[in-house]
Symmetry: C2
Subunit: 299 residues, 2 copies
Amino acid sequence: MGSVGLDTVETRAGKRADVLGGAASYFSVAAAFLAPVRLTAVVGTDFPDAYTKLLETHQVDLAGLERVAGRTFRWSGIYAADFSTRTTLDTQLNVFQDFRPKLPATWTDSAYVFLANIDPVLQLGVLEQTKKPRFVACDTMNFWIEGKRPDLLRLLERVDMLLLNDEEARQLSGQANLPAAARAIRAMGPKSVVIKRGDAGALLFHEGGVFSAPAFPIEDVVDPTGAGDSFAGGFMGWMARQGDTSPATIRTAMILGSVLASFSVEDFSLDRFRRLDLGQIRERFAAFADLVHFDKIKI
Amino acid sequence: MGSVGLDTVETRAGKRADVLGGAASYFSVAAAFLAPVRLTAVVGTDFPDAYTKLLETHQVDLAGLERVAGRTFRWSGIYAADFSTRTTLDTQLNVFQDFRPKLPATWTDSAYVFLANIDPVLQLGVLEQTKKPRFVACDTMNFWIEGKRPDLLRLLERVDMLLLNDEEARQLSGQANLPAAARAIRAMGPKSVVIKRGDAGALLFHEGGVFSAPAFPIEDVVDPTGAGDSFAGGFMGWMARQGDTSPATIRTAMILGSVLASFSVEDFSLDRFRRLDLGQIRERFAAFADLVHFDKIKI
């Protein structure tokens, strides 16, 4: 569950207008390479059929995708030439403003639930519609950490994992040091915390200790939009595919998340996923293994 | 070869005045856990015997440590509470200003040579005193990249490896993207480039591909001074200990570098090294292996 929208994005590699975006779009297609996905979101009547078809082509179940009168959520932004910062030029909530996500009746048994970044009250609302999910993960952002902290804290008591970026982790915990921030956040509820650090990879803190997933060094980054959501998609896709929540599976899921994120940034919107297949995912998984491989020699 | 000095450092963990510092101090003691070290540097008559003894205790050969009339190099700095920035309060070159490093005659056969951050003219001068070293690595900084670029480029044509931080890599190459920066720097001469990223670890670009060494997540950082030099020390110590320059050895050396750097920040000055032994190094090497371990499963 999360946002599906139309993005207008400019990077050093070019510009795209009104292309498919939104956390739930990236998440769903990334996850769908590994497991069946059910998408809950809302779009307006202007949402292009081509994008509905794209999601369907990837076998994303759209029974939870509401189409209501009005315009689709829109975001527009521009990235610095070195990708170190991005500036939001425009955000139009449109139909997203009154989104009250409702799971189709047959979906309440969903075992692996991802609550993308959205008002924590709505994240809680979705969670309450599910019956004993096996593994619940959520994302959040500075806006909710500041503005809806009590609701966010109520949500955190009920999720297994929180994924957030380093600045959000510092803001939520009040701790500058990332291991300290993760410890503080784990005390709020989630047994596992994933801190995403962009091109510095991601750190997992959980009962199995600490795990460091590298980012894949990519020379030709085209558009970083959606990388974190693609990470979450690859992560949850692997969890659902394996059907277990062991520390070992969570570690492998971190790498699948990194794999999908690394593909995501190689083109605008979800375009790289259009020409992605499981063979390429396997190849890059092996490349990740090589990226961190060193001989376990005797010192 | 590099600087030995007296540091006055303030961090959230406390303050220390006139403690042992300098790139060559950290490098030498870190490397000495793994291989015999020969130190070329200069100090003044005020350099405390206790610090000379500390270096000797770690079996660092001080035949190249000149002691000349005048005061020892001094640096003073303060770190932000979150360690995100540091401010230099004072730098006094003192005897370091007229340092013209000279290798003892019996040291010209040194096989593994590390030229710590110092004027590239002096780095070249030391290199020219050596006879066919097997592996030469050097460090540098923004000051030389800006002010002595032609000399630095002449040096780079003659070294096997350059270690520098991400900002320096961007400045030297004119490339914001790190893999692109590394490619540009490798074209300047060094077959291997190590880009140090602080608590985001280090990236190695060389003929064996790309290798990502994580940083060890440390909750109680006391003083980050010298972490990069300790990394270089652990790295070169392992290279010298193994006596080969294969891609596999270079990768393992990256982890030993990370291990020594991770210990270095746990206390002020070289204090953590005073109570470090090979057993602890072995344990942390194993912890690094666990930090990046994931099952190489079939997708």
